[in-house]
């Protein structure tokens, strides 16, 4: 029989002990660095970073199922707003979402929780480009895509293979 005082003590200890965090997750978040000066937390922040590192449903950050950043070309840092990102999952369910002024897009699980593999295409007007390979399991584009390209990293997600004019006049 555990005395009442001991039980109360354990309960108090548990109540005031912070929840155990995932050290790997914490380390991954730290590695992303601080926010960029002048860009507050929100839909426009941290473009090009692996969104689901934080937005994975295990913290106060909104959970995303798929999220990423689209750039105008492969080798320039200009984001591509107004691009439609088409996602088609293993059950042939399609979902479309548009990029914002940072080139960011994000999908919440309540709207679309795909079953992998997921095939991706980008559209702007009548122009369409399809990703060569399907996404197999990771909802963060930047887990595989990012600059600089290397043997384990495909370059950033881009709309046009060659430079061309892009109308981003609706963005600040």
């Amino acid at each position: 029989m555990i005395p009442q005082t001991a039980r109360l003590g354990v309960a108090a200890l548990l109540a005031f002990t912070p929840a155990c965090d995932d050290p790997l997750r914490e380390r991954a978040i730290e590695a992303l660095g601080p926010e960029v000066a002048g860009v507050p937390r929100g839909p426009l922040h941290r473009r090009g970073q692996p969104c689901l590192t934080c937005h994975d449903g295990s913290s106060e950050a909104r959970a995303f199922s798929v999220a990423g950043t689209v750039y105008v070309t492969a080798d320039a840092p200009d984001p591509a707003p107004g691009v439609l990102v088409e996602l088609i999952d293993a059950d042939r369910r399609a979902f479309r979402v548009a990029t914002n002024c940072a080139g960011n897009f994000f999908v919440e699980p309540a709207d679309f929780a795909p079953r992998y593999p997921v095939f991706v295409a980008l559209e702007l007007g009548s122009y369409r480009v399809e990703m060569d390979t399907p996404v197999q399991r990771d909802g963060s584009c930047a887990s595989c895509h990012g600059e600089p390209a290397s043997r384990s990293k495909a370059g950033q997600v881009y709309l046009y293979a060659t430079p061309r004019s892009f109308d981003a006049s609706g963005c600040p």
Partner: protein, 165 residues
């Protein structure tokens, strides 16, 4: 006990411990290299994306022209899968369960489901990537034919084409 017998006894026990007392020693079999590049391309197309088996730390780490590259000068999507990458994939596939792999190959590919590689690919065992090869489909035929040292090139080529829905 005479001191002279101890080293021999220890060696015998160590050998028994390593080989397993009940199991016969595995046959000495080298992985079938004939047709492997077709199998490697098929596995690469279906399993080796950068967010899956194209990650360096995975037990079954696979290189592919569209995923992880072996040489620092290569990038995903930047050229064909190289011979060195195919060779590394072969070592990864055969090295997953080397003794069992040798046994399955030595028995002509019979009961290939003994291999985790086959069970996971067909979704017969828990696999985060689901079942990249449909049971009885061209990818399944490709993999089993290779294990039987009679690679079905056409099945491999068909399975290496991943169709968009």
């Amino acid at each position: 006990m005479r001191r002279g017998r101890l080293p021999g006894l220890v060696a015998a026990l160590a050998l028994a411990a390593c080989s397993g007392a009940d199991a016969p020693p595995p046959p000495s079999v080298t992985p079938p290299s004939a047709g492997w590049e077709d199998v490697s391309e098929m596995l690469g197309a279906r399993c080796a994306s950068l967010d899956c088996h194209g990650q360096p730390g995975r037990p079954l780490r696979l290189y592919h022209r569209a995923g992880l590259r072996l040489a620092d000068v290569d990038v995903p999507g930047g050229g064909a899968t190289t011979a060195d990458e195919h060779a590394a994939n072969l070592r990864a596939a055969a090295g997953l369960e080397p003794e069992l792999f040798a046994r399955v190959v030595g028995e002509g590919g019979l009961r290939a489901e003994r291999l985790t590689l086959v069970r996971k690919a067909l979704g017969l065992e828990g696999h985060k990537g689901g079942a990249p090869l449909a049971p009885g489909g061209s990818g399944d035929v490709c993999l089993r034919s290779w294990l039987a040292a009679a690679t079905d090139d056409a099945a491999c080529a068909s399975a290496a084409e991943v169709e968009r829905p």
